[in-house]
């Protein structure tokens, strides 16, 4: 049982993304940015979002962390590109529900794409914060933009917002 959980935690796809890191490297002049720190381990992540014409153009990020946080940011970068406000809000909500399900919700591939490979994290509650880091950063960044703020941004993941160093 435990071994299955472990294999399910570190799926090949997760390790692929942790090595490839899609969206890694900040693109300049973002529409909004957010810097998040994982209180349990001190890992930090900065995320830039570029929006235009009702859809997200790009999510880029920078930071060091465990394979779960890096893979999760990579997958989010893939998912967010091209998403509307309503779509990204649904995607983030589905991801959060999956991670907090303690293994009960395997996630919708249609909504979450590669990120369903993070479903195994939900059986390791201490690692949920790692997986949520980039996603919270995106929520916080979008919350600064008119028309993009999610209905009720939740930031109950153990990470905290550090005020943006520069407001653009």
């Amino acid at each position: 049982m435990a071994l299955d959980d472990f294999r399910n935690l570190y799926q090949e796809l997760l390790i692929d993304h942790s090595r490839e890191r899609h969206g890694f490297g900040l693109r300049e002049n973002p529409s909004a940015e957010s810097h998040q720190r994982n209180r349990s381990c001190g890992d930090e992540l900065t995320l830039h979002v570029h929006v235009g014409d009702g859809v997200i153009d790009a999510v880029t990020w920078d930071g060091q962390g465990c394979s779960i946080s890096q893979a999760s940011a990579s997958m989010l970068s893939d998912l967010a590109a091209g998403a509307t406000a309503a779509q990204i809000s649904d995607i983030v909500a589905a991801f959060r529900t999956m991670l907090h399900s303690r293994g009960k919700d395997e996630g919708s591939e249609e909504l979450l794409g590669d990120a369903i490979s993070l479903s195994g994290v939900s059986k390791y509650p201490p690692r949920v914060n790692c997986a949520m880091l980039a996603w919270v950063a995106l929520e916080v960044a979008l919350g600064q933009l008119p028309d993009w703020a999610p209905p009720q941004a939740q930031t109950d993941t153990g990470s905290r917002t550090i005020p943006s160093r520069s407001s653009r």
Binding site: Y10, Q11, I15, Q64, C66, S67
Partner: protein
């Protein structure tokens, strides 16, 4: 006499379990050690036969509880080379260090009677710590400096985490009022040169505070012989219960210091306007005390003395070298702190190139190996060594050679598993012959 590890492990039932379907290899004793049956029994016996509030009440059980509590103090005092009135019970070592800092703080605002001058800090005074301190021996001094206007300075470390003694001679000077440092680093296991630092502090008239949390479980200690003014130890790291720590202080100093926590059991007389305080240690033990925990800690030092602290120390040094040697020999692993061959306690922290410590810890846990990951409450030291976090393996009297081997084996496989750059391209057959894959 060498420790009979197999035999003594029978005293620690917690060790003979499986986690994740494999036998537990507990290598996190630096965070908290396990407790032998003798300690658990002592605590239980106290609750079963004596349980009462101490130092009050005229009934038989109250007398017995007081006797047990004070006998425990005598016992622990002997263990660390102190007199009983020099042993103050606290809830843990962090509380003991905060007690000191707040007592000095109270002295600095004029609380206490004659004799408190030497604890007073003001602008221009300096508190000196080191760059390798646990946060518990850093932040209370930062806060004390902020409250009093004193300046906090520190002795740096070199790339191997050795204290820069050249800096120590410069940093510890005429303005130094307090020198606080760890006997043994909780991250790199290095043993700091107490005698040299104490001599320097004595030369300038500074008070010396020793954090002995990571030395007390591993070596015989005599605070009087070490000539420190204050020292703290943590019960749960030395086979004792959770919830008990000790502040050691030279008797004449403790008696002169103003109290920190105030309330019941620490007074001689109280009016509606003011209170007079008992001498040490009672003046620092306000409120109901952790009596069963004190009794448990006394049982733990009985246990350690039964093994013989010389044998404990010898075995611990051996484990420290085995950990250091084994880890340093693995490609892509950076051992922090003293290189193999240099003195260290049975503790070693390391980083794995290209793999985050959380992933290392998760991977090892799957093999039944319990280690600590993160910055181990020593963020400045990690920053100095150029790493964000590390993985730490730490031993105790019950640690076997097989556990060290299991760790070295496990760590050898980590980089392959996470496909770290430069790791062997051949995927070893892990976990029963199957690489993890998508379901």
């Amino acid at each position: 006499m060498p420790l009979d590890i197999e035999r003594l492990r029978a005293d620690f039932p917690v060790l003979s379990q499986e986690v994740n379907g494999v036998p537990l290899n507990y290598l996190d004793s630096g965070a908290t050690s396990h407790k032998p049956l003798q300690v658990l029994d002592a605590e239980r016996r106290f609750y079963e036969t004596h349980n009462a509030a101490v130092h009050r009440g005229a009934h038989t059980l109250a007398g017995e509880a007081t006797e047990a509590f004070e006998s425990a103090r005598d016992r622990v005092a002997t263990f660390v080379g102190a007199k009983p009135n020099e042993i103050v019970w606290t809830s843990n070592a962090t509380a003991a260090l905060n007690l000191l800092a707040y007592s000095f703080s109270n002295a600095s605002i004029g609380q206490g009677r004659a004799g408190t001058e030497r604890f007073r800090l003001t602008k221009g005074d300096e508190i000196v710590v080191t760059e390798l301190e646990h946060h518990a021996n850093l932040i209370p001094w930062q806060e004390l400096a902020a409250r009093t206007g004193a300046t906090l300075r520190y002795i740096g470390v070199d790339d191997d985490g050795r204290l820069r003694m050249d800096q120590a001679r410069e940093v510890i000077g005429e303005r130094t009022k307090i020198l606080a440092f760890a006997h043994v680093s909780n991250v790199i296991g290095a043993i700091n040169p107490v005698a040299e630092l104490v001599a320097r502090a004595r030369a300038v008239g500074a008070l010396v505070v020793l954090d002995a949390c990571q030395s007390a479980p591993h070596m015989s200690l005599n605070f009087a012989a070490l000539d420190v003014d204050f020292a703290v130890i943590s019960g749960h790291k030395m086979l004792g219960p959770l919830g008990i720590g000790v502040l050691y202080g030279r008797g004449e100093l403790l008696d002169a210091m103003p109290p920190f926590l105030t309330g019941g059991s620490m007074i001689t007389s109280v009016t509606m306007e003011q209170a007079e305080y008992l001498p040490s240690p009672a003046r620092f033990e306000a409120g109901t005390q952790p009596v069963a925990q004190a009794v448990g800690l006394a049982a733990a030092v009985d246990y350690l003395d039964g093994l013989g602290m010389d044998s404990v120390h010898e075995r611990d040094a051996q484990l420290g070298q085995a950990l250091a040697r084994g880890l340093a020999s693995i490609d892509g692993i950076r051992l922090l702190g003293p290189p193999p061959g240099e003195a260290r306690v049975g503790l070693a922290s390391f980083t794995v190139d290209g793999v985050h410590p959380h992933d290392v810890g998760q991977f090892l846990d799957e093999l039944g190996i319990a280690v600590r990951v993160g910055h181990h409450c020593a963020e400045p030291l990690h920053r100095r060594l150029g790493v964000a976090a590390s993985t730490r393996a730490s031993a105790s009297v019950y640690t076997t050679d097989a556990e060290v081997t299991a760790l070295i084996d496990g760590v050898s496989q980590v980089r392959e598993f996470f496909r770290a750059e430069g790791a062997s391209a051949v995927q070893k057959q892990l976990f029963g012959g199957h690489a993890p894959s998508s379901p």
